[in-house]
Amino acid sequence: MAVATRTSAPHAVLDHIHPEPESFVRKYVFSIDHKVIGIQYMVVGLIFFVIAGLLAEVIRVQLLHPDGRFLGGEQYNQVYSMHGSAMVWLVIIPLVTGGFGNFIMPLMIGARDVAFPWLNMASFWMFPPAGLLLFGSFLIGAPDAGWTEYPPISLLGPPGTSMWCAAIFLIGISSTLTGINFLVTILKMRAPGMTFTRMPLFVWAQVATAALSMVATTALAGALAALFIERQFGVPFYDPAKGGSPLLWQHMFWFYSHPAVYIMILPAFGIISEVLPTFARKPIFGYKMIAFSSVAIALLGFMVWAHHMFTSGMVPWLQLPFMILTMIVAIPTGVKIFGWVATLWGGSIHFSSAMLFAVGFILTFTLGGITGVYLAAVPVDLHAHGTYFIVAHFHYVLFGGSVFGIFAGLYYWWPKITGRMMNETLGKWHFWAAFISFNCTFLPMHWLGLLGMPRRVAVYDPQFTFWNQFASVSSFVLAASTLLLFYNMANSLARGKKAGPNPWGGRTLEWMISSPPPYYNFKKVPAVLGLPYDFGNPLPYLGLDNPQAEAATPSQTGQPAAAH
C-alpha cells in the first residue's frame, strides 16, 4: 500500500512531517535533528578550538627564547603533539563536516534531515568522548611524538599515547559514519529537480569530502588499532627490532592523512564558493569547473600520500609518480582559485565580515598552495622536509584556508543558525586583526625553515631568535583577535538584532525558510528549476513555503544598524 501511495502521489509522502520531540533530552541532548546535531558539533568543536589554540600559544611562549625557558623538552613535545592532534581531529574536521555539513547541507538540498538521523546522533556522541579521551591523556602522560606519532618512538611514548590511539580511532569511526550518512543523503534526498549540476557548490564539496572520509579513514583505523595492540600487547607491527616496519605506519597514516587535508579544505572551498557569489551579487564563475575540480582533487588525493615520505626511505623511482601526481593537484586547485577571482570581477561587492574572510582566504590559501608545489618537487623537499617551511605551508592551508573558511561560514550562516545578526563592525575588526597577525605569525616560518630551523624543537639556534619572537608576539594578537569573534557571538545571542529569513540575499535553499529554520525545515519540499546563483533572474524554486520570502533581496546587508 505504502508503495502504491508513494508512486501515485509522491507529495503525500514528501509532505508528511514528523512531530517535534518535546522532552529536553530528546530536543537538545540526544537529538536526531541534523540542525541540533550541527550546532552540537559547532559548540563542542569551538570549545576544543579554544583549548587547542591555547596549546598553540604555549608553543609560541616556549619559542620566545632560543633556549626554551618555559617548558622542558618532554612537556613541550606533549603540547605541540596535542595541539596538532586536536586541531585536525577535534576542531577542523568536526567543524567543517559535522558542524556546517550537518546544519547547512540538508537545508541546501531541500531535505528534512540526513538519510540516517539516528546514525548521525551516534556519530556526534562519539565526538565529545573522543575529545575527553584525547585531552584526558594529559593526566597520565600525553602523547609526545607529534600528531603523526611515528613509531618506533610512539611505541615507547607516555601511557597517554594509547589513549590518543583510542580517541582518534573513535573520532575516525564517527567521521566514517558521517561520510556514509552524507553521501547517501546527497545521492538520494535532493529536492525534485535538483540534478547534480544544480547542486550548490558547498554540497559538491561535501560529496567529495564524504567519499574521502568514508574510504580513507578506514586505513587510519587499521593503523591505529595496530599501534594500540603493539603498545598494549606487544604484537610487533612497527618495531623493527622485532620484525615490524616503521614505514608501514607512515604509509597507512598518510594514506589517510593526506586525504584528511582535503577533508579539511574542500568544505572550506565550498563555504567560499557560497559566500563569494552572495556578496559579489553575481553567479559563481565556472560552476562546473569548480564543482568537478573538487571531485578531481578528491580522486588525486588518494594517489599522493607518499609525498610526505620522500626522505623516509623508498625505492627512488617511486618518488617520481608521487611527485608528478602531487604537482597535478595544483591544476584543479588553480582552476578553483581563478574561478573565485573571476567571480569578484564585475561584481557589486559588499564587504561583510564573511566576505572579508572569504577574500582573505583566497590570498592566504594561494600562498599555501604555491608552497605545496615546492614541497612536491622531490629535490626541494629534501631540503625543506621536516623544517619550519612545512609548518608555514600547512598553517597557510589549514589556518589561512580551513579556519578562515570556518570563520567565513560562521559569519555567513550565523543569522540562519541563530536567527540573530552579529555585529558587523566587530566582525571586520576581527578579520583585519586575524588576517594581519596570521601572516605575521606564519610568514617568517618560511625562511626560518629554509635557513635551517627544524620543526618540533623546544630549543633553537640563537640566530633565529628575532623571527621567532616576531611570530610569537603576532600569534598572541591572533589569539586575542579570536576573542572578538566569541564576544560577538555571545553578544549576538543576548542582544543581536533579529535576522529574518534572508539577511544577505542568498539564493540557496537554506535562505528560503525562516531563521532559525523550523524543525521540519520545509513544509513542502520545493522543486528546483536551475542553479542557485543567477542573481539577475527570479528564484529557480517552485512551491516554496513562503513564496513572498525576501528571496533575492538582501534586507540588512551591510547596514551598520544590523549590528545593534
Partner: protein, 363 residues
C-alpha cells in the same frame, strides 16, 4: 530589481589593462630579482647538489611569484574597482556572467604546461641526485638518542657528534638509526634523509666549500630532539688526513672519540648533569659512601685512593678518559662496570662539564 548600477565602461572594467600591465611589470621585475640573486647569499652552498636544488627552488619561485602577484593583484584590484558604492541599493547586482570557456581553457592549459615544465625540471635534477659520482669515501652515520655516530672505513672506533669529510671528494653516506627515527640534515648541503632503525638510506653529495656546518636531526626522536645537533667539518684534504691519523691513533691506543677540550668545562652545568646521569650510582661524599660505585667527592684529596679505578693518576684528563670510554674490570674484588659516554648518552661537552664539576668538589 535587476539594474546594473555600475556599468563597466569597457568590456573588462575600468583600469583592467593598466592594472594587468602593472602586475606584469611587477612580476617581471621581482622575478628578475629572484633570478639574479644567488640563494647562497642567504644560506651558503657547501656541496654539489645544493646548487642544483637551489636552481629548482628559483624556478619554482619565479613561477609561483608571478602567479601569486597576479592572484593577489587582481583580487585587490577587483575588490576596489567592483565595490558596491555606499549609496547604491543593497540589491544592486553584478555582471551576470556564468563562465567564459575560452578563458577557462587558457587558465587550465597554462598551469598544466607550467606543471609539465616543472615536472621535467624536477626529474632532471632528481636524476642528478641519484647518480654516483664515484665511490671515493663511503661512510656511515647512525642516529642515537640524542647524538650522531659516524663510522669510517679503516677506523676501528666510531666518532661522536663530529663528522669530518675532505673537500671535493664524493661522499656516499649510508644512514640508519640505533633506536628510534632520526633525521640527517645539513642545510648548507640541502639534502636530508631519515635515519630509520632497520633500514639504510643513502645520501650522496660532494662537499665543495671548506668550513664548519651543523648536522641537524629532523625527525622527532624524544625529549632532547631539539638539542641533537652535530658538527660537520668540511676539511681540506690535508686537514682531513691529519684528523684521520689522530683518530686512528686514539683508536689504536684503545680510546675513541674526538679529543675533549677540558678547559671549557663549566662546573654548574656539570653539577646539573651529575644529578641526572651519575647520582644514581655515585654520591658526592667520600669514597666509602658507596651507592653502586664509590663516592666521588674527594677525588683529589683522598689519601687512601691515590689512583683512579684503572690505576692511573688522578688528573682531569684521566677522569675524562673514563667518562668517555667507561671502565670494565675489577674493583675491590668485584666486577665494576662504568658505562661509556656513548651508553650514558653524554657528549664531549658534557664530559668537560662533569670533569670540571668533579675537580671543583675536591677544592
Amino acid at each position: 530589481m535587476a539594474q546594473l548600477v555600475k556599468k563597466p565602461k569597457t568590456n573588462l572594467g575600468p583600469g583592467f589593462w593598466p592594472v594587468t600591465i602593472f602586475l606584469a611589470v611587477l612580476a617581471i621585475v621581482s622575478d628578475y630579482y629572484v633570478y639574479v640573486t644567488p640563494l647562497s647569499r642567504f644560506l651558503p652552498e657547501a656541496a654539489v647538489p645544493a646548487d642544483q636544488i637551489d636552481a629548482l627552488f628559483k624556478f619554482l619561485t619565479i613561477v609561483g611569484n608571478a602567479i601569486f602577484i597576479y592572484v593577489v593583484g587582481y583580487v585587490v584590484y577587483f575588490c576596489i574597482a567592483f565595490r558596491r558604492p555606499k549609496n547604491a541599493p543593497a540589491n544592486t547586482i553584478g555582471v551576470q556572467i556564468h563562465d567564459q570557456p575560452q578563458l577557462e581553457f587558457w587558465w587550465t592549459l597554462v598551469p598544466t604546461l607550467l606543471v609539465v615544465a616543472l615536472a621535467i625540471f624536477s626529474v632532471v635534477i632528481w636524476k642528478g641526485l641519484q647518480q654516483t659520482q664515484g665511490d671515493v669515501l663511503t661512510m656511515e652515520a647512525i642516529g642515537h638518542q640524542f647524538y650522531f655516530e659516524f663510522r669510517y672505513p679503516k677506523l676501528k672506533a666510531s666518532v661522536r657528534d663530529e663528522m669530518h669529510i675532505p673537500v671535493n671528494t664524493p661522499i656516499t653516506l649510508h644512514v640508519t638509526a640505533a633506536d628510534v627515527l632520526h633525521g640527517f640534515w645539513v642545510p648548507e648541503v640541502r639534502v636530508k634523509a631519515d635515519m630509520v632503525p632497520g633500514l639504510v638510506n643513502t645520501l650522496r653529495f660532494t662537499p665543495t666549500t671548506i668550513g664548519q656546518y651543523r648536522i641537524i636531526c629532523t625527525e622527532y626522536c624524544g625529549s632532547s630532539h631539539g638539542k641533537m645537533i652535530a658538527k660537520l667539518y668540511i676539511d681540506s684534504q690535508q686537514d682531513f688526513g691529519k684528523w684521520f691519523a689522530k683518530e686512528a691513533n686514539i683508536a689504536a691506543s684503545g680510546g675513541g672519540g674526538a679529543a675533549v677540550a677540558l678547559t671549557t668545562g663549566q662546573k654548574d652545568k656539570g653539577q646539573a648533569l651529575f644529578g641526572q646521569k651519575c647520582s644514581t650510582c655515585h654520591s658526592v661524599g667520600p669514597y666509602n659512601q658507596i651507592i653502586v660505585g664509590p663516592g666521588l667527592g674527594h677525588l683529589f684529596n683522598d689519601a687512601e685512593h691515590k689512583q683512579l679505578v684503572d690505576g692511573k693518576d688522578v688528573t682531569p684528563e684521566n677522569i675524562a678518559y673514563i667518562l668517555h670510554n667507561g671502565y670494565q674490570g675489577q674493583l675491590n674484588g668485584h666486577v665494576a662496570v662504568m658505562p661509556s659516554a656513548q651508553a650514558n648518552a653524554i657528549s664531549n661537552e658534557d664530559i668537560a662539564n662533569l670533569t670540571a664539576y668533579l675537580v671543583s668538589l675536591s677544592k
